[in-house]
């Protein structure tokens, strides 16, 4: 019945099955298999017997006003007096369209609406309940079903441009199921992979399956997951630990948050299987404290698992014990580095240490420990159920499966996408993401966060995988994609990342601590106008590029951890592709994109200036001079580049160079 998959009854027997069923169906004592099947059907939400409303209430949804939408919805439904159900779901990936409201009417396909702010709820819901087709043009898409009525002229989810080229394994249930309902997760074949693992597979077999699947660490390292597990499995020890790294810190990355908020059980199932595979009896989820919703969902899910006896001692009567502990991180970027993360869990300052010994040999408290990130673990249950060949068949030569990316920056469709490995960057940015906002010219996309590099127009056709990105000076990273358009200054972008790295450097090794400070300083000097120049700054800026390259080399070659070794990447990559922008800053004191404020010059076009004196009056530094009714002029030495004059001139007489 389960899409050709066996039922959990194939693995659980006797009192185990009875207990499991009593958790699934607490209302009935001694339920029959028909009762259970019926319950699972209900939990699946494939059909409904009353109107169901699904509100996208992940962090992105909440930020867009999902709670106001919910309140308005309850008000509307109260007035029209119908029986209904509201379910808060996670993020489906269309962050740009939040708040999203899915409406599922009995007998009809579930249909999804975007940008449903509280003011739009009443008209929309009423129109839909009255089957007023006019409202359908506002719909995003509808879900496909076997035999429910199709809404005319509304695309199916898989035909909707945003989803068309996606392949969703990790995100397949995010935004669709209730993240707080373990029952619903179970109804969708949840914990079937775990039952199969515990009942049929040895730890070594699990490691081998994962290794054969070709799954690589999705946190950016790109090491074969199964291989890492084998190292830990083969290291004898009285205690082993599994650690899930949910300390997502790259600017513009929110993949892990979405998974934990939208489908926490998928992560937990993967984590339990992984812990079994290396025979760890204690697992930690290291998650940043800035993710309160994700933490709340995890806490709920973990307590449900204990209640269902899927966590604790002797899980499914297999003899395997596991406890999962949530450890909140205080938001240090470097704690994403595995040895720093281990120190942090141990209660020490988050600072990396030299490797080897690798954590798989000597990790948390000196015991063998494996650290995987959220997305890696969220792939595990599917691989166990569908087989390693299935997973291996996706992707290209060196990278298998799918990858989740967070699209942000100057792009139309900001949000989360999951694509098969080997897809081109162009497809992601333009076909899925819709291209830059306001139809501006695309300039570059930063991949891999502060450790990565940029992919420019000329490289957009590159296939996305671990190796080919490296050939162009970028890297896969954890999956943040920040899109930049013609209005972005690449020197400014490099400066932003250098500021970030400098702030987040743990301060341990000299090249990273002092070297990034020097690089940041050079970038500062390059983007500075004469007005704030001191001492030898004017001379120093000419050495800028040379020194940046020299420093990058030293930092890359001699830093202690990955954070330091990759710290110069944003500078190197922008230097590689946008050297002319650097040169314009240095030699012409000009910022081609008009971002670096000190390098901007304001000018008054004589012909257009009516001499109204408004700009001269508003100028905070007294840089504008002129007699009434005669054209004014700007003294650029005095100008502090605040842009007030440009904003207030009614005649368009002031331009920015």
């Amino acid at each position: 019945m389960n899409n050709g998959l066996p039922s959990i009854e194939n693995y659980l027997i006797g009192s185990n099955l009875e207990y499991f069923n009593s958790c699934l169906l607490p209302e009935v004592s001694n339920p029959t298999s028909e009762d259970i099947a019926k319950k699972i059907e209900t939990l699946k939400n494939d059909t409904v017997d009353k109107p169901y409303f699904f509100i996208g209430a992940g962090t992105c949804g909440l930020g867009a006003g999902a709670l106001h939408t919910e309140k308005a919805l309850i008000g509307v439904l109260k007035n029209i007096n119908v029986d209904y159900e509201i379910i808060k779901v996670g993020c489906i990936g269309l962050c740009f369209a939040e708040p999203i409201l899915d409406i599922f009417l009995p007998g009809k396909n579930r249909i999804s609406f975007g940008n449903v702010t509280s003011d739009k709820v009443e008209s929309m819901v009423k129109a839909l309940l009255q089957e007023d087709e006019k409202v359908l043009c506002q719909a995003l898409f509808q879900y496909r079903s076997k035999d429910l009525k199709v809404w005319e002229n509304v695309p199916f989810m898989e035909d909707y441009p945003f989803f068309k080229k996606q392949k969703r394994i990790v995100l397949n249930q995010c935004g669709i199921i209730n993240p707080l309902s373990i029952g619903q997760y179970v109804a969708h074949n949840g914990y079937l992979a775990l039952a199969k693992t515990l009942k049929e597979l040895t730890p070594l077999e699990v490691c081998t399956i994962i290794e054969k699947s070709g799954l690589k660490g999705r946190g950016g390292g790109g090491f074969l997951t199964g291989k890492k597990w084998k190292f830990a499995l083969n290291t004898p020890s009285d205690q082993k630990y599994f650690i899930c790294n949910a300390d997502e810190g790259d600017p513009g990355a929110f993949m892990d948050r979405a998974v934990v908020e939208g489908d926490p059980h998928k992560l937990l199932e993967g984590l339990i299987i992984a812990a079994y595979a290396i025979q760890a009896t204690k697992a930690y989820i290291y998650i940043r404290a800035e993710y309160p919703l994700a933490i709340a969902h995890l806490e709920q899910a973990i307590s449900d698992l204990y209640a269902w006896k899927i966590l604790g001692s002797n899980i499914f009567d297999s003899g395997f014990d596991l406890d999962i502990i949530i450890k909140k991180g205080a938001g240090a970027f470097v704690c994403g580095e595995e040895t720093a993360l281990i120190h942090s869990i141990e209660g020490k300052r988050g600072m990396p240490r030299p490797r080897p010994p690798f954590p798989a040999v000597s990790g948390l408290h000196g015991k063998p420990s494996v650290i995987n990130n959220v997305e890696t673990l969220a792939n595990i249950s599917a691989i166990i159920l569908m087989g390693c060949e299935w997973f291996n068949s996706m992707g290209n030569n060196n990278s298998k499966g799918t990858k989740v990316f967070a699209l942000s920056g100057k792009i139309k469709n900001t949000g989360l996408v999951e694509v098969p490995m080997g897809i081109t960057m162009r497809e992601i940015i333009f076909d899925i993401g819709g291209g830059p906002k306001n139809d501006k010219l695309f300039k570059a996309v930063q991949i891999g966060g502060p450790s990565g590099g940029c992919v420019t127009n000329e490289n957009l056709n590159i296939e996305i995988d671990y190796d080919s990105l490296k050939t162009i000076g970028a890297m896969m990273g954890s999956g943040g994609l920040v899109v930049m358009d013609e209005d972005n200054c690449m020197v400014d972008v490099a400066k932003f990342f250098m500021d970030f790295i400098q702030r987040e450097s743990c301060g341990k090794c000299i090249p990273c601590r002092e070297g990034t400070k020097q690089m940041q300083n050079i970038l500062e000097k390059i983007t500075r106008g004469r007005i704030s120049e001191k001492g030898n700054d004017a001379l120093d800026r000419f050495k800028g590029i040379l020194q940046l390259e020299e420093l990058s080399n030293t930092i890359k070659e001699t830093s202690l951890c990955g954070l330091g070794q990759s710290a110069p990447n944003p500078v190197l990559s922008t230097l590689k592709y946008f050297r002319h922008e650097y040169e314009a800053h240095i030699f012409d004191r000009r910022c081609p994109s008009g971002v670096c404020s000190e390098l901007i010059n304001f000018e008054i076009i004589e012909d257009k200036c009516k001499g109204c004196t408004l700009c001269a009056k508003k100028c905070p530094s007294g840089a504008i001079k002129g007699s009434p009714k005669a054209p004014h002029y700007i003294n650029n030495e005095k100008c502090i580049k605040c842009g007030q004059c440009l904003k207030i001139c009614k005649f368009g007489a002031i331009i920015k160079n």
Binding site: R353, S505, G507, C509, R513, Q518, E550, T558, L560
Partner: protein, 571 residues
């Protein structure tokens, strides 16, 4: 295992680091954060080397050799990287070296010279940080700190005190105490091991030379000085003597040349300490009270107990340390004997220790309204004074210390090394128990630099379980075992600094093992050569008891030579 270093094939045992391999092949690699016996921290990156086939340079301290490895320790690439790193470091380091305490002894300065750093490649970006002068023992200048982390690791791993750690991130990172308060508000035990390992002038002792010079110039003061047992075997190193040279006589001569009117040896009061402490031991064992007896000579250890193990305060011997006993005897015995008003006496001590500066200022160390000790100088400060007076130590004729507080047994001299106090105490305790003085106990089980040395001795049917500890991480292990009931002892000797006073926080900078071993051997050689080898044989000590103290643990002794400590809080 066969490896190749700079094209030269060498055989090395497997499992060692590249750094160690190079060391045994007589190839020096510069380091700034490396500390023997501790897990490599890899923070300074100075020890990078090139390995054929490796993309990046690797740190030799944290990388083990592998079969056939081809290592280049001084290739162009390596030297350029080291130089760049150093230049980066210097961009955020004050370079007013002339005004620095570590001028000429600074590792950073030495490295800069070695690598030929002679112009400023990176712009100066000094982040000025506040100097912490709050401690009576140590001064911290975080601006000079290069964040190598040696002090933090020594404090945390070797001493398990953790008074200092890193705060903030990036270039704002700083080593400081909890809540960034003064060292005096922390649980710092003043041992000064941090200063011993600091490669720059970021942590140095609080200098008291000025006070001493002022007293020497004061005509109304009688300036007396005592020097601790460990000084005579280390001072020479600062004047080009071989490590382990004993310059006891020259030092006495130098002290007189500088104007100290009376020169005494702390070894005298160490003998008194043994008389008191051995009696205390025999007394406690007989009564079965407050066992184990723990030695109380080491002021860092005392503060450690006050902070972390107040439940053991009653186990500490009530004896003051030899420094303080000497101080009390000078002002309350010797001064009266000499007809000098004790208020006119300015009592200086030369100590291998920074914690002694703290100890001298403790409220428990005031007798009759007068501080037992007025100023404490470390070995390093004494050397600076000798330099200041342009005295050529090597050319001085050895002189004897003044009577009667200058006489000492060689047992007292052993106070300078881990195990020495226990050995001296047992020599006298054996006599107290058996009244038999025929044999000298040379306790070889105590005579090495191990951190924990257990020994059970039986004297006339009395079994004494003893343990000798140096380094407070080891003390913590033993105390925890005692608390858990795993171990029982009668007598515990603890010295705060690993190796004892010969490696104390006031000694010449650096914790080079060879030097420490040489100093230890020198002390045992002195003991071997000496005729008077037991504290109770010191004639002046015997006389002291006859004419003044009456007998060990007498009321007079208790007034002058014993004290009690209280629990303490602090982070």
């Amino acid at each position: 295992m066969k490896i190749e270093i700079n094209h030269q094939s060498v055989n090395m045992p497997s499992g060692i680091s590249i750094l160690d391999a190079c060391k045994s092949a007589n190839i020096n690699i510069p380091t700034l954060c490396y500390l023997e016996d501790l897990f490599p921290s890899g923070s300074c990156r100075m020890c990078v080397v090139e390995i054929a086939g490796n993309k990046n340079l690797v740190t030799s301290c944290s990388t083990q050799i592998t079969e056939g490895m081809k290592i280049f320790t001084h290739s162009n690439r390596v030297i350029a990287a080291r130089k760049s790193i150093l230049e980066l470091l210097l961009s955020n380091h004050p370079d007013d070296c002339l005004y620095c305490d570590k001028n000429n002894t600074c590792e950073l300065q030495k490295l800069s010279a070695e690598l030929g750093v002679r112009n400023r490649n990176f712009s100066k970006q000094l982040i000025e940080k506040e100097i912490d002068k709050s401690s009576p023992s140590l001064i911290r200048d975080p601006s000079k700190c290069i964040l190598c982390g040696r002090c933090v690791r020594v404090c945390e791993e070797r001493q398990t005190v953790s008074a200092i750690s890193f705060i903030k991130r990036g270039s704002q990172t700083k080593v400081t105490t909890a809540f960034d308060g003064g060292l005096n508000t922390s649980n710092c035990i003043n041992c000064g091991q941090c200063a011993m390992v600091c490669p720059t002038g970021a942590i140095v002792e609080k200098n008291n030379i000025k006070d001493v010079l002022a007293a020497l110039a004061d005509k109304n003061k009688v300036v007396v000085v005592q020097h601790a047992p460990a000084i005579s075997v280390t001072l020479g190193e600062l004047f080009g003597f071989k490590p382990g040279s004993d310059v006891n006589g020259q030092m006495t001569a130098a002290l007189r040349k500088m104007g100290f009117q009376f020169v005494f040896e702390t070894s005298f009061s160490a003998d008194v300490t043994i008389m008191e402490e051995a009696s205390e031991l025999v007394d406690r064992v007989k009564k079965g009270e407050n066992l184990p007896l723990m030695t109380s000579c080491s002021p860092g250890w005392i503060k450690f107990v006050e902070h972390f193990y107040p439940e053991f305060l009653n186990n500490l011997s009530s004896c003051k340390s030899p420094q303080q006993m000497m101080g009390a005897l000078i002002k309350n015995y010797w001064a009266f004997k000499k007809n000098i008003n004790p208020r006119d006496v300015y009592s200086v001590s030369i100590m291998p220790c920074t914690a002694k500066k703290f100890e001298a200022g403790r409220e428990e160390m005031i007798t009759g309204g007068l501080a037992d000790i007025d100023a404490v100088l470390t070995t390093r400060e004494l050397a600076k004074m000798i330099d200041m007076f342009n005295i050529n130590l090597a050319k001085l004729k050895p002189e004897d210390a003044d009577d009667p507080l200058g006489e000492h047994s060689s047992a007292a001299k052993l106070f300078g090394v881990t195990g020495g106090v226990a050995e001296a105490a047992l020599r006298t305790a054996a006599f107290l128990i058996t009244n038999d003085d025929s044999q000298v106990h040379e306790i070889h089980e105590y005579r090495d630099l191990e951190g924990i040395k257990e020994l059970t001795v039986t004297i006339a049917g009395i079994t004494l379980k003893t343990v000798v500890i140096s380094g407070l991480s080891n003390a913590r292990l033993v105390l925890d075992d005692i608390k858990r009931g795993i171990k029982q002892y009668h007598f515990i000797e603890v010295m705060t600094c690993p190796g004892g006073c010969i490696a104390g926080g006031g000694q010449p900078f650096g914790l080079d093992k060879d030097r420490i071993v040489a100093r230890m051997k020198a002390l045992y050689q002195i003991d071997k050569n000496e005729k008077i080898r037991k504290s109770h044989h010191n004639k002046d000590v015997v006389k002291l008891y006859e004419e003044f103290l009456m007998h060990p643990l007498s009321q007079k002794s208790h007034e002058l030579l014993h004290t009690k400590y209280k629990p303490r809080t602090g982070y």
